[in-house]
Amino acid sequence: MRDFEGEVIKNEHITKDFFIIEFRLQKPIYAIEPGQFVMVKIPDERVFLRRPFSIYDCNKNSLSIMYRIKGEGTHYLSKTPKGIKTQILGPLGKGFNINFEDHLKPVIIAGGIGIAGVHLLIKKIKKTPDIFYGCSDEKEVKLIEDLKAKHVYIATMDGSFGFKGDVISLFERHLKHYQSSICIYACGPEAMFKSLKEKIKPEIKCEVLLEERMACGMGLCFGCVKKTLDEKEPYKRVCKEGPVFDIWQISL
């Protein structure tokens, strides 16, 4: 973990309100686990706290983020021109555990901007995963353009591309073929996790990437907790004990 100075070298509109921003880091960054994130100082004085974003992609000297405009912070981020420098704290948190047993087939499920959280995982995972991607419409399919080579099942809510409906319903159709020999990695809205948890058997390994409002991103403030089933210490810090959690250990 380090507080990097990053210079914006690309801030590209992909589709709708989705963007990819890339920073050149003034120092090299090492050893990133897929699922880890960074806290980005939005280069606008109206924004006070930093904002958490998954590491979308990363080389030694550059780091990129895929983001969706949500509120003020991401709005100003989308207006940031090339050449601007800002602070990027990371890598933060505990990423996905990719040392799964050999006989398991990795299945990656992403909803909408959730793809940003598993993108590096898809790149780094040693065994070819099955990918399920759900989004609202055809346009958002653009977010996985660089994954075309891979095997991706696509669901759109409006049916404008692939399966019509949500990604968990699509995944459910394939579930019986897998039996229990899969391990799942998921990133998306909480409703998606809830529905996923209902569909799968407790034997199935499943890790999910959670989001919560954050102040520090590094375990200092205890502001970003989620409730787990751990009775002694139910609230875990998403930024420190997470953002990746075992789906069977969180209370959804």
């Binding site: 100082k41 403030c221 205890f222």
Partner: protein, 300 residues
């Protein structure tokens, strides 16, 4: 080099800059970035007799140039703190201030009693903003009489120096300071967060009720420090909205013997080491020999 040491209850701190309680986890979390033994002292997260789970999320909300938190005093309890984390501070030889609270007088007192003196413990910092569950949730720190009684009882069960950390949501903070002093408090920490709420106009609800922190506290904290230092002859630790070394200098000049930095650490995790370095430079460049030369120097 400028002399940044300050005395606090017979202990010499290498400099007068600390974290604010609850804004640096259990201390260990900062390890990857910088060595916290460079601070004057580490202030613990608010600790209680028993562990507390705290409030459900959301616990933080951004405000214009500040934030609201409602952590709800989530902590592992004093026993676990001493078992799990005290060795860390011992290894660093870093002085520790134990911030603690209770939801009843008994809890405060029992908590204070169970904390044994330790060469690294500078003092106990009693967080008097905590709601008194038995008294309908009004915080202990609001009435001089309550503060007097509570501080007196805490003092009677411990040999460790006790400082009272006061809430600004009172009529006149120097009356509260006076009561704490009369009851034997060895110092004061000024100020805690100011209660506020956020109204979400899209969802027509109040996602958070909590404590405001950040730069807007500064003029309020400075006023509290100035007024209390005029009435009460015990050391004051200043906290509230310090974002950089200039803010810290204002706190010293207003009368603080040490300062704590909270929210600023979230914005820039290196705020504290930067402040330490820069106040050193300030002291040098102005021809002072020691930080003590600027404490309380402000004219009125």
């Amino acid at each position: 080099m400028a002399d940044l040491t300050v005395e606090l209850f017979g202990k010499t701190l290498k400099n007068p800059v600390m974290n604010a309680s609850g804004t640096m986890g259990y201390g260990v979390e900062m390890e990857p970035l910088w060595d916290i033994k460079n601070m004057g002292a580490y202030v613990t997260k608010g600790l209680s007799l028993k562990p507390h789970h705290g409030n459900p999320p959301p616990r933080i909300w951004e405000e214009r140039h500040g934030m609201i938190n409602s952590i709800g005093l989530h902590n592992i309890g004093i026993d676990a703190f001493f078992n799990n984390f005290m060795p860390f501070f011992e290894k660093k030889e870093l002085p520790v201030i134990i911030n603690f609270f209770g939801f009843s007088e008994e809890e405060y007192i029992e908590c204070a009693r169970q904390i044994k003196p330790h060469r690294l413990i500078v003092c106990l910092e009693a967080n008097l903003s905590c709601p008194n569950i038995k008294a309908g949730g009004i915080s202990f720190g609001k009435e001089p009489e309550n503060v007097y009684r509570l501080v007196k009882k805490i003092k009677s069960v411990t040999e460790i120096p006790v400082i009272a950390k006061l809430t600004p949501e009172v009529k006149n903070i120097s009356d509260i300071a006076m009561a704490a002093y009369d009851a034997g408090a060895d110092g004061l920490t000024l100020i805690n967060t100011i209660p506020g709420i956020y109204v979400d106009i899209d969802n027509k609800n109040i996602p958070i009720k909590g404590g405001l922190s950040g730069p807007f506290l500064k003029p309020i904290a400075l006023k509290a420090i100035k007024e209390c230092s005029e009435r009460v002859p015990i050391p004051i630790i200043g906290v509230g909205g310090i974002m950089d070394w200039k803010d810290a200098v204002a706190f010293f000049m207003a009368g603080a013997r040490a300062v704590q930095v909270g929210t600023a650490t979230f914005v820039d995790p290196f705020t504290i080491p930067k402040i330490i370095e820069n106040i050193g430079e300030f002291i040098n460049s102005k021809g002072y020999s020691s930080i003590k030369d600027i404490i309380g120097v402000v004219n009125t």
